[in-house]
């Protein structure tokens, strides 16, 4: 009797708490997820719908495409994303190999190497801007000291100015991607390399047959993510060139803000909508990649 009662009681309590726990869990879950849902509705979904509503007039796109700045901006954006990102990721891939070297000075250097990423971008980009100043900038001062001639007006030439914007972008974000790729390299078993070295493989063989196959997926994910984020890089262009000279170095991220400053809100929104055919496919690919990876792991 007692045994049965004792036996019975906990199992009964069990189902009870389990049951109420579950309904409880749903109520609490709803309450706890609510703050984020509200934030999403009020500050993401509504602004986005409102933006599309403002940009609904076909006339804004006609106006936009007749603005000569617009096509230059599309070109700049594509150059920025394709050239800067690929250069950056290849350098990051090489440097991630460099930072696997087991030397004290390489470890010390890695601390300094993170500086551009750890420091806020506003003062460092302004520092770049001053270095490139044609009259007082330190680069042209040194050119004058060495050659007695005036250096070029770096940021006054559209191609050079765009080039420097890309350079500044690479300077700022290279440490981040190098660290990510480094963590990918460190995850590869050292035994593989040792075995291959014993078999007489050289550095290129090791990379080609061990490093790259294990890093390929990570590298592609990083490449896509970096492309998406770079489409939204406002600071590297705005703080370095302000879109100048003569609005020739704008990218889509700065163009929208430029129209906003002239109170041309519909064109501003239209410019952003024009970025979507670039952004959305990349986001879609990325979400699918991450989704399939997650299910593989599960």
């Amino acid at each position: 009797m007692t045994v049965a009662a004792v036996d019975h009681a906990p199992s009964h309590a069990d189902t009870n708490t389990g049951g109420t726990g579950r309904t409880d869990a749903q109520t609490w879950g709803l309450l706890m997820i609510l703050p984020y849902i509200l934030i999403f509705l009020i500050f993401v979904l509504y602004p986005v719908l409102y933006g599309f509503w403002i940009a609904r007039n076909p006339q804004s796109y006609v106006k936009l495409s007749s603005d000569p700045i617009f096509w230059g901006t599309i070109r700049n954006t594509l150059i920025f994303v394709i050239v800067a990102i690929n250069v950056k990721m290849v350098i990051a891939l090489v440097l991630s190999g460099f930072f696997t070297a087991e030397r004290r000075w390489v470890k010390a250097l890695s601390v300094l190497f993170i500086l551009p990423w750890a420091l806020p971008s506003i003062p460092t980009i302004l520092s770049w801007r001053f270095m490139l100043n044609p009259e007082w900038g330190i680069i042209n001062q040194q050119i004058f000291r060495l050659t007695g001639k005036d250096g070029p007006n770096w940021l006054n030439d559209p191609s050079l100015a765009l080039g420097f914007s890309m350079l500044v972008h690479v300077w700022k974000s290279l440490p981040f991607w190098t660290l990510i790729l480094l963590s990918g390299r460190l995850a590869i078993s050292k035994d593989l390399y040792e075995a291959a070295s014993v078999d007489g493989a050289n550095g290129w063989h090791l990379f080609r047959h061990i490093t790259w196959p294990s890093m390929q997926q990570l590298y592609l994910t990083c490449l896509i993510l970096s492309m998406i984020w770079t489409l939204g890089d406002f600071n590297s262009v705005y703080l370095l060139t302000g879109g100048g000279p003569a609005d020739l170095t704008h990218v889509l991220a700065t163009l929208g803000v430029r129209y906003l400053r002239y109170d041309q809100v519909d064109q501003s929104m239209a410019a952003i909508v024009c970025a979507l055919p670039l952004v959305l496919p990349l986001v879609y690919i990325l979400m699918r990649r991450l989704g399939s990876n997650a299910s593989e792991k599960a």
């Binding site: 879950g29 500086l115 939204g232 952003i272």
Partner: protein, 283 residues
Amino acid sequence: MKMPSLRDVGTEAKLLLIGIPVFLWSVIPVYHMVLFAISPKDSAFQGNLWPDHPTTRNFETVFRQQHHYLDHFWEQMLNSTIIAVSTGLLTLIVATFAAFAISRLKVKGGKTVMNLALFTYFIPAAFLAVPMYRTMGLYGLLNHQSALILAMVTLASPYAIWVFKQASDKLPQELDEAAYIDGASPLQLFRLVYIPLMLPSLVAVGIYALLLAWNEYLYAFLLLSKDSDVTLGVGLGNFLSADDSPWELLMATGLVYALPPAAIYYTFRKYMVSGLTAGATKG
């Protein structure tokens, strides 16, 4: 024989061939900032690579607000601090709640919310800035610091929720069952079991949100306008409004602005790197 072999010398030379450019590349713009900050005005403008008489005069000018660009230096410093700390705390609250609801309480529709959040995270923030600016106007929040805080929480939460969810999924499900059997409510489970176990992620994400808000430029300069309301970052950008900007003061202010986030970043570097890699490179 302790003589290094020719091969060793070759490897070392190759490493140096990469190491030296990497060093210069990383350090020069930062050195340039320091150089201007500690140089008397004339010396830096003459292209000296090291001032004959290094000075702290520029910093004194900044701290005493003795230039019209610096009239609101301390206010702006305070604004940046308030906005960054509020963003950090609010993001932690919103994101831990959401991740707990999704990952542990298995709330219905949680997966959809996670996907929406992830989607928001991938859309470049600059593209949301203009619509957000307009709607903040409709809400009557424009030129209030709460607008910037809410915007930054909106931008920081998706990544925060994602990192928390990843970390949370790794905690054994038996923990929750044991807690429920002991009669714990979901809230007690959250407070007594979940939060203590998530501490490393909390540090990483809190700092991520804090630094995101401190370093933000675009949203800060769109959503706030009065000189006494803006963050120090926007204050720095305002130096560009004239051609005869006092660079030495800008660089000194820039260093003061850059120091707190850099100190925080380097102190918590271990957390940051593992947190970031957990989030950004899944797969």
